[in-house]
């Protein structure tokens, strides 16, 4: 349903002569209804840029190439008016900071009402009834009273539930969630994840979930894409990615997360700190080579192509090998 092909995103440099930053370097993604695709990777690897591009929210300074098809319709280079028929209505987005995505001077009910009314032409009372039912669907108790609350009167977890309700208000088929639980306490994180998974199962939306946390990804996703320096370096099912990673970067992620995945007790490790810095995207070598224990001369001379591996694929000359 959502089909991304060779998407590249470049942020303009400060002056015209500067090349700018290549944030995303030609990625493919496929997502179907009632599916969860997790996108994991180090900070700065281009996850948020990808999400913003799909939602049509990149700043004007960002240039995109490639194609994004939603139900076979291209949505990458639409004008503002066409975008507003996609945003909210076809694609809903949830951000990391639940407080920040709500206007502090309006009640949360008003902020959901306006989405409902914009997309569904309901009158005030019908819209409020819909808002209350949305709030109860995202697990908020006493929704009619909560609708009259202002964001500062709600906890972080409740605010994220409200933001999810607002993202669902126009009945989109795709939900983009950019680290939706990072800013929350551990127990609340688990509840919000349960809620998202439940929405996928019950309402059959497609969920693209960005997370720092391999354990989270392995627990909820149908497929996991591992991103490094603007490229997808491995794409696997959750079990195989954890037990038999192809790319050395995935292996490094897995080694830190494995005990928690096995324990399944809701404790999650963040991505491990790797030595060294992530290389710039768009080079002529494997971007991970400078930090890779398996790197050989070839890795430093050539970008490794994507090859089939296990139940998916990996972009590594030494996929599946381990350092001795």
């Amino acid at each position: 349903m959502l089909k991304v092909r060779d998407l590249a995103i470049r942020f303009a440099g400060r002056s015209a002569s500067e090349a700018g930053t290549l944030a995303v370097d030609g990625i493919d993604l496929d997502l179907d209804r009632a599916q969860v695709l997790a996108l994991i990777g180090e900070s700065g690897s281009g996850k948020s840029a990808t999400m913003l591009a799909l939602a049509g929210l990149l700043p004007k300074s960002a240039k995109t190439t490639g194609s994004v098809l939603l139900d076979d319709r291209s949505i990458l280079h639409l004008d503002e008016r066409e975008k507003s028929t996609v945003r909210g209505r076809r694609i809903g987005m949830i951000f990391q900071d639940p407080g920040g995505s709500l206007n502090p001077v309006l009640t949360v009910g008003d902020q959901i009402d306006e989405v409902v009314r914009t997309h569904r032409r309901l009158d005030r009372r019908a819209a409020r009834a819909e808002t209350v039912s949305l709030l109860s669907r995202v697990g908020i108790g006493d929704p009619a009273a909560r609708a009259r609350a202002y964001p500062h009167q709600l906890s972080g977890g409740l605010k994220q539930r409200v933001a999810i309700a607002a993202a669902l208000a126009a009945q989109p088929t795709v939900i983009l969630a950019d680290e939706p639980t990072t800013a929350l306490d551990a127990t609340v994180q688990a509840q919000i994840l349960d809620l998202l998974v439940n929405l996928v199962q019950v309402e059959h939306v497609a969920l693209l979930l960005v997370t720092h946390d391999l354990a989270v990804a392995a627990a909820v996703a149908d497929r996991i894409a591992v991103m490094y320096a603007g490229k997808i370096v491995e794409r696997r099912g959750p079990e195989q990615l954890v037990t038999d990673p192809g790319h050395p970067y995935s292996r490094a992620l897995g080694q830190a997360a494995l005990p928690f995945v096995a324990a399944g007790d809701g404790r999650h490790a963040a991505l491990p700190e790797l030595p060294g810095r992530m290389a710039e995207a768009g080079g002529t070598a494997c971007a991970f080579a400078p930090r890779c224990p398996l790197a050989i001369d070839r890795c430093r001379a050539q970008v490794p192509p994507v090859v089939p591996f296990g139940d998916g694929e990996a972009a590594c000359f030494r996929a599946g090998e381990t350092a001795q």
Partner: protein, 332 residues
């Protein structure tokens, strides 16, 4: 609205010490300035012998000691009897009450005009940040702000009252007042156009700058990005998610400006010959009518307190996070 009533009660209680301090300050200033109403009276009436002056002082209770006079002063405040104005030849309270509506009307209209236009232009400048429109608005407002208001006032009179004759030369109403009430209202409004515009334009720069910077900030906020992600129409995002939260510092500034505008009204009322508190204060000061000065200052203080109360109520309505004394602490 229990919250509003709590706020009103709290603010009125806070006003008591403010009024006390201001009145003591006024009394102290008048004492330090030397000279009293008798001196002023004799100066106006053309003098008299010392014995006559002494008799007058006894009559008006001005020969007593400091404490007695202070108590008499406090009593006059409590009973709202500010004494006799030599300049106006009537009780101070009557002189002030005659003038107060004109000034309140002009100030109210000028504040509303400068805040509304300034906010609108500031918002437009923020949306068009970095363009020629932005630069034009910002610089234009600053130029108006930098020009002395008496000078703009005179130019306005020359162009719009003398040359074009669209508006009257001055005053608050025509001598031959229209019979119908609606006619009289329109007549006053017609007289107020030039002074209100001059006063309002001079103070507009502040609101332009405040609104511009506040709205640049809200436009970059996460909630605006989220609102865009929800597919809301642009106009709605601008109004509810950018402009509305950006109004908070503007409202704060309205309260702070109230006192300044009273000062500005002195000049504009004099230029446009409007019988208001400002021109009354001008007469009172130039002719050393001390009781009148004291009365005007106190009434001015009261006006500032009332305006600030209105501002606080508005602010509390706009910003749900405000419930107590943190009101406006985070503003401008």
């Amino acid at each position: 609205m229990g919250r509003t009533w709590t706020l009103i009660r709290r603010r009125l209680l806070q006003a008591i010490p403010v009024i006390l301090i201001v009145s003591i300050g006024i009394f102290g200033l008048l004492e330090l300035a030397g000279g009293d109403a008798v001196d002023a009276y004799l100066a106006v009436t053309g003098g008299g012998d010392p014995a006559f002056a002494e008799r007058l002082r006894q009559q008006w209770g001005l020969d007593a000691g400091l404490w007695v006079r202070f108590l008499a002063y406090v009593e006059s405040l409590v009973t709202l009897d500010f004494g006799w104005s030599v300049v106006m030849s009537k009780p101070v309270s009557v002189a002030i009450l005659e003038r107060l509506p004109n000034t309140a009307l002009m100030m109210g209209a000028a504040i509303a005009f400068s805040a509304c236009l300034g906010t609108l232009l500031g918002g437009i400048a923020a949306l068009r940040k970095g363009t020629a429109a932005d630069a034009g608005i910002t610089v234009g407002a600053l130029v108006l702000n930098a020009m002395p208001s008496f000078w703009i006032g005179l130019i306005a009179i020359v162009v719009f009252a003398v040359k074009l004759a669209w508006f009257p030369l001055g005053g608050i109403a025509s001598f031959d007042r229209p019979d119908l009430a609606i006619g009289r209202v329109l007549d006053v409004a017609w007289h107020l156009v030039l002074p209100v515009t001059v006063l309002g334009l001079a103070y507009m720069a502040l609101y332009v700058r405040l609104m511009r910077s506040a709205m640049i900030e809200t436009a970059a906020s996460d909630w605006v990005r989220a609102a865009r992600a929800r597919g809301l129409p642009r106009l709605r995002i601008v109004r509810r998610h950018m402009a509305r939260p950006a109004l908070l510092p503007v409202v704060t500034m309205l309260g702070l400006q109230a006192g300044n505008l009273l000062g500005g009204s002195v000049v504009v009322e004099t230029v446009f010959a409007i019988p208001g508190l400002g021109s009354l204060a001008y007469d009172a000061v130039s002719q050393r009518d001390l009781p009148l000065i004291a009365g005007i200052l106190l009434v001015g203080t009261l006006m500032v307190i009332v305006v600030n109360l209105l501002v606080d109520i508005t602010y509390a309505r706009l910003d749900p996070r405000v419930t107590d004394d943190r009101v406006r602490a985070g503003g401008a």
